[in-house]
């Protein structure tokens, strides 16, 4: 990481004047116009890095503000917590706001997340991902009801520690769209982020639907399309490890499997009839 590029003693100038020794950098950015539906192409933009913030997102915003206002991309927090600016930079998925611009004589290539339907320029359609996330029922499920004066569900520090590395997921979809299995079977394979969240609720000591959740993911397509390719862990911008969570998930499924799971699953599906989504036949 070019941290040295950040340590500049001069304050970042806001003017668009040319500095004496400019540092031009070309970006080749994917453009797609839904109005014409013409074939997408890479458009070159060159900006002066001396007049730009250090992150890829800073470059995109500068290009939009000063060069081409039609360039379209998602962004919000600019600090790597919202997950909006997930895209493919020089072939690797990541958050534009957390990636430093690395000066290069070759253009820096910026494309939308791979194998997604592109709405416009760098904006992918993530509806399928969001629906799959809903299908694993990401909320605490209990079989008992709290008495009136009951306080919190107690959870030991050791049990709470089991959630570290999973609850921090920002649903940016970098891992999902880096996975070749997810490219080939997005309708059926749940993908790394969703599987890791499924495991997050299975590992949560306060949740009482552990067996139902395990039975739900125990499916040749939903879970077992994972072949340990590891692109997910490799590109997670938050440093999380979905591949490891999936390994634990497969282990726990194998350790606890019972023949009664199939009918338990049918029961859950029936309960969800008439809902917008949730555990339902997919």
């Amino acid at each position: 990481m070019a941290l040295s590029a950040f340590r500049r003693s001069l304050p970042r100038s806001l003017s668009r004047g040319f500095a004496a020794a400019a540092k031009p950098q070309t970006f080749a950015i994917y453009r797609y116009d839904p109005d014409t539906q013409a074939k997408p192409f890479l458009q070159d933009y060159t900006i002066d890095l001396k007049e730009c913030g250090p992150m890829i997102l800073d470059a995109l915003i500068k290009i939009k503000d000063e060069v081409d206002a039609t360039l379209t991309f998602r962004r919000s927090c600019r600090e790597g917590i919202c997950g909006s600016c997930a895209m493919n930079i020089n072939g690797k998925n990541g958050l534009a706001c957390l990636l430093y611009i690395e000066e290069s004589s070759k253009p820096i290539e910026i494309q939308p997340l791979p194998h997604t339907y592109v709405v416009k320029d760098l904006v992918p359609d993530l509806t399928n991902f969001y629906n799959q996330y809903k299908s694993i029922e990401p909320w605490l499920k209990r079989k008992d009801t709290k008495a009136k004066d009951d306080k919190e569900y107690f959870q030991s520090r050791e049990d709470r520690a089991k959630l570290d590395g999973m609850y921090e997921c920002i649903l940016c979809a970098c891992c999902m769209t880096s996975c070749p299995s997810y490219w080939w079977n997005p309708e059926y394979y749940l993908g790394p982020a969703v599987l890791m969240q499924a495991y997050r609720w299975i590992a949560d000591s306060r949740d009482q639907f552990t067996e139902e959740r395990l039975a739900w993911v125990n499916d040749t397509m939903k879970l077992y399309r994972c072949h340990g390719i590891m692109n997910c862990t490799n590109c997670c911008p938050k440093g999380l490890d979905p591949a490891k969570a999936i390994v634990h998930l497969k282990e726990q499924v194998a350790d606890t499997y019972k023949d009664g799971w199939k009918s338990m699953m049918t029961g859950e599906i029936v309960k969800n009839k008439g809902r917008e989504s949730g555990m339902m036949y997919m």
Binding site: F73, S84, Y153, E168, I170
Partner: protein
């Protein structure tokens, strides 16, 4: 199974929602645009903490609800909150909600409404436990209870019992945990979301009742009118009016400006919170929890200077006190760095295990944005715009009021940062905002349930409802003026930073008013490049810019008029608090809907100083010392 329907033209995103036909969407044409009409019992604008809690609550009450958001819900800026959520759970020490309420009244510098404050602090333990019951992964004490950390301005025994530990936290990612938990809650309740729909304006009847709102679907540019018996505005603040802020790019005051265009007043916009520890120069937030876990601010002489400014609370004094202290240290030449223009936040004396367990998120943020390893070196920080205490004025039940007599606007509620109940008065205590969101998001749902019956007959919208909004959007979509949006936005931001910073003075505020009036007039000369209807962020950013100018103008005028210092409004010509003349809320209006034609009007409204009931004593004004 989820095969996509490919059509030649733009897709109708609303019809991809399942069972849309069951929701009887009808269509018409207005101003050359196809407009789809929906009717709901309740519509929530905004899907951050307050919006999601309101939406889930409404569905829980059996009301037909739509939640509109210009971003996917978990991208809302609530996700970036770090420190925690206050509540008198008494997990660390003995505690009472009345002590929390006292701290909040004092933190607000006696501009908070004590009935709303009582309501919030009394409900705090319950809403925190409710969040936990939906699975929020709070950090834990050795006994397995929810961990609570020390936070700014929190004390025991009405200020006499030392530091309180009442900020319930999930490491330093509490906002992330809360938003994702609330999103899970909304999914459980099967809430209907209209994601990436940009709400443009409220629909009001001739007799001043709110009938819903009009929004544009970003995916295909279709216009949608949502008729609702109750509209809840939960669109957050307008931090992006400033050059340097911890806020997201999306924090543009949309819902507040919509209310303003509908002729409704804003309240207390002059009170803008500067968070003491935004990373310099990036502006990213380092939570107050850093100081809660023992972090210390030091100047160029290595002195822990907060001991001089706030002898008791020191680094955990109220945020406005700390921000002013830092600003004075820099002014007096004791800033750090080559230009002596910022301060150091030291965490290097804390055990690395504490940093790893309690502050992992900011450790990462400091490394990426300041190149600093907080276990070894101090982080460079500067007071940075962070929060708007002001907003759409409401009563404690979140009903919007439109004048000094607190006349309720039927059909309109506001919650969260967009609202002004007012629980934060002139200054917000840390970890009270996440609480505000959940308590008043829930209250908005409860108030609506009192007023609206499930499956009420559809709202009848006037035939030309939304016509003006559509015409306005069309005009801006074809704008050919000389000023690019980015340039005018920068002009606004630079000038707000220059004329209304931490310390304000009469000359700067007066100049600021003139400058802002210029910016307002210049909006008519804005020009955009992108003419499409699909995902036109050039257009959206220009509409957001109008919202920013709308709010910033009212802020500047309100600030210039307030001749005292109170909470976050520090006026160098009037350095003391003046309860006799100024213990009142500012109400501000634009006299015309559109900023290029408008002037700002100011009036005032009394602070509600009596609590709701006998469970809390009225907190009389006192000198505010930490």
């Amino acid at each position: 199974m989820l095969s996509r329907l490919r059509t030649a033209g733009p897709r109708l995103a609303s019809l991809r929602a399942p069972r849309a036909s069951a929701r009887s969407v009808t269509s018409t044409t207005i101003g050359g645009y196809e407009v789809f009409d929906h009717s709901y019992d309740a519509v929530v604008i905004g899907a951050g903490g307050a919006g999601l809690r309101a939406a889930a609550g409404l569905v829980g009450h059996g009301l037909k609800t739509a939640c509109i958001s210009k971003v996917f819900p978990t991208r809302s800026h609530t996700v970036a909150a770090q420190g925690g959520i206050n509540g008198a759970l008494a997990n660390m020490t003995e505690d009472q909600w009345q002590w929390h309420a006292y701290d909040t009244v004092k933190g607000a510098d006696w501009l908070g409404d004590q009935d709303a404050i009582q309501h919030m602090c009394r409900l705090a333990p319950e809403v925190i436990l409710e969040l936990e019951s939906f699975g929020l992964p709070f950090s834990r004490t050795p006994e397995g209870k929810i961990y609570q950390r020390a936070f700014g301005g929190q004390s025991l025994k009405f200020g006499k019992g030392g530091q309180a530990y009442r900020c319930a936290a999930a490491a330093d990612r509490t906002g992330h945990a809360i938003l994702h938990t609330l999103y899970g809650m909304a999914l459980k309740f099967d809430c209907l979301f209209f994601v990436e729909y940009f709400a443009m304006d409220l629909i009001m009847s001739d007799d001043g009742k709110c009938l819903g709102c009009v929004a544009m679907c970003m995916e295909d540019g279709s216009i949608h009118r949502f008729g609702a018996h109750s509209t809840i505005v939960a669109t957050g603040g307008f931090g992006r009016a400033y050059q340097s802020c911890t806020s997201a790019h999306t924090c543009t005051g949309d819902g507040s400006a919509m209310a303003s265009r509908a002729g409704l007043p804003m309240q207390d916009l002059e009170f803008v919170q500067f968070h003491p520890t935004g990373i310099f120069p990036a502006g990213c937030l380092l939570t107050e929890g850093c100081r809660g876990e023992g972090g210390i601010l030091r100047n160029s002489e290595g002195e822990p200077f907060m001991a001089r400014y706030a002898p008791t609370a020191k680094d955990l004094a109220s945020r406005d006190v700390v921000s002013r202290a830092m600003t004075l240290e820099i002014r007096e030449g004791r800033g750090v760095g080559p230009n002596k223009d910022h301060i150091y936040l030291h965490l290097d004396h804390l055990p690395p295990e504490t940093l790893a367990e309690r502050l992992p998120g900011i450790s990462e943020t400091a490394k990426i944005f300041a190149g600093v390893d907080v276990t070894k070196e101090p982080a460079p920080v500067l007071p940075t715009v962070h929060y708007n205490m002001g907003g759409i004025p409401t009563n404690w039940k979140t009903q919007v009021v439109k004048d000094a007599e607190s006349t309720v606007v039927p059909g309109l509620l506001a919650a969260g940062e967009a609202g002004c109940a007012s629980v934060h008065g002139a200054n917000r205590l840390g970890a009270n905002s996440l609480l505000d969101l959940v308590v008043f998001g829930r209250q908005a749902a409860d108030t609506t349930a009192e007023l609206v019956k499930p499956n009420s007959p559809p709202v009848v919208l006037p035939k030309n409802a939304g016509e003006a909004s559509i015409a306005r959007m069309d005009k801006i979509r074809h704008a050919k003026g000389a000023i690019p949006t980015a340039d005018l936005r920068r002009e606004l931001q630079v000038n707000m930073q220059k004329y209304a910073p931490v310390y304000r003075n009469a000359d700067d505020l007066k100049k600021g008013k003139d400058v802002i009036m210029e910016v307002m007039k210049k909006y008519k000369d804005v020009g955009i490049t992108d003419r499409t209807m699909v995902w036109n962020t050039d257009l959206i950013e220009t509409l957001e810019l109008e919202n920013l100018i709308n709010q910033a103008a009212q802020e500047m005028f309100a600030a210039e008029a307030r001749q005292e210092s109170r909470g976050a409004h520090a006026h160098e010509n009037f350095p003391d608090r003046d309860d006799e003349n100024w213990m009142k809320h500012t109400l501000s209006w634009l006299d015309k809907p559109y900023v290029e034609d408008a002037k700002v009007i100011l009036k005032y409204r009394s602070v509600i100083d009596q609590p709701l009931d006998k469970e809390m004593h009225h907190v009389p004004p006192a000198k505010r010392v930490y």
